[in-house]
Assembly symmetry: C2
Homo-oligomer: 238 residues x 2
DNA sequence: ATCACTAAATGAATGTCATTCATTTATTAG
DNA sequence: CTAATAAATGAATGACATTCATTTAGTGAT
């Protein structure tokens, strides 16, 4: 038994971490292997989501994440290789929230509508993930892959030629990602301010957009583009 | 050749490109005010573009930018408030490269085609700017604003109702930004690997896409979506 | 000419991050 | 019982962006 007798109390600086949130109530452990690991990928994902919800993506640092889990930052690296890995975990979790229930239920058009709107809504809250998803091999994201499978199946059942399905999905997805950014843009993004005099057409167009209504500009644009894509892509069906 | 800026818009920062690199070899100056300032926004923009071209966006650090200009990093802060400002300068420079020459020339459809493809191509090389543009008030980017003015004018001339113009442009732009990411994705991004067994429809769709051709998948998807949007949005014209 | 003013540059901090590493230790397999 | 291992610790490290007190050289007014 290697030096078991009387654990020498590495004492020291425990107080710091105190108890940021709940995380792992009370019981602080010292270095060493606990009966059950404090960390795992599911817990890291949950803590990351919690942190993002509370502090936004700027607040998502490895140190803050560790604090949330009542653990030292370096401990995270036993479970993820990098911060990017954390983002991938979050991304894949979110993919499971996208509503694909329309596929197999009603019309193809309605299924795409439901899917696209919910996809956009989910990622509008998480735009910092978009650059990550866009380049993410699907192998690394099982939930995301599952979403693609359902959607592909829906397209196939609707009569799409197999070789056009991926292109059609990619086109829709590109529009969705771009539109997700749009949701986060400031309301006055198109205000030309002092340069308005030099841009009469644009300024007038912006003004007349603002003049009408209740609906959020980002939603109007998304609806417009989505219906165009549904009609245009739908024409590919046999 | 690009640009064809809107009437009334001046060259603005265009002249920047003049002497990109050289910077001021040999002559090191000590602190103090030189006869002509070593730095200005045009020079910073040019140096940033040079650096991005050579090392990519990872290589664009304030220190590297300063070195490129043969200046201390802190000197940059006399001309830009932050690194984000540098990115804005670059973004606005690129906006001038987008081809809007079709508006006022041929058909609306062709003008949109030319504009959209060139817009995508330019930003596919600069995807790290997309999160910046998406939230960028147009006031801060005169060349970008000039682009909007030309495009708005083209839509108006084509018979679009004024209050739909901004939404239509935003929809197209969202698609363009999303598609720009797509260009940079690895070729095997959709390879399900070991999970292929669980995703038969998707895997088959990916395979049959790969089976056909010469054209890059990102280009096929972009063409497909763009034509759908042109048709669908075009129907809004009076 | 002189003198104050000011724009522009310097280099030495600062602070925030992600990430690495040598150690420590509880649990488990043999 | 012992050796191996997974999992945690805290103290570096090394990039970065950004700030600040200083320095200096043109410029414009007197």
């Amino acid at each position: 038994m290697p030096a078991a007798a009387a654990p020498g109390t590495t004492a020291g600086t425990a107080g710091t971490t105190a108890d940021s949130t709940d995380a792992s109530k009370g019981v602080r452990r010292r270095a060493g292997r606990p009966s059950a690991a404090l960390l795992d990928q599911a817990g890291i994902t949950a803590a990351a989501l919690e942190l993002i919800g509370r502090k936004g993506y700027d607040g998502l640092t490895m140190a803050a994440l560790a604090r949330q889990l009542d653990v030292a930052p370096s401990a995270l690296y036993n479970h993820v290789a990098s911060k990017r890995d954390v983002l991938l975990l979050v991304e894949d979790h979110l993919a499971a929230l996208v509503d694909v229930s329309g596929f197999g239920a009603g019309s193809w058009e309605d299924a795409v509508r439901t899917w696209a709107w919910s996809y956009r809504d989910v990622f509008a809250q998480h735009t910092p993930l978009i650059p990550v998803i866009a380049v993410l091999p699907v192998t690394d994201a099982p939930q995301t892959l599952a979403m693609y499978e359902t959607v592909s199946g829906g397209f196939l059942a609707a009569g799409f030629p197999e070789e056009r399905i991926v292109s059609a999905i990619v086109a829709l997805e590109s529009f969705i990602f771009g539109s997700a950014y749009d949701v986060t843009a400031p309301a006055d993004i198109f205000d030309a301010g002092s340069m308005a005099g030099a841009t009469p057409h644009f300024t007038a167009a912006v003004r007349s957009l603002a003049a009408r209504g209740d609906e959020r500009p980002a939603d109007v644009a998304f609806g417009l583009g989505l219906e165009a894509l549904i009609t245009g892509l739908g024409a590919l069906r046999r």
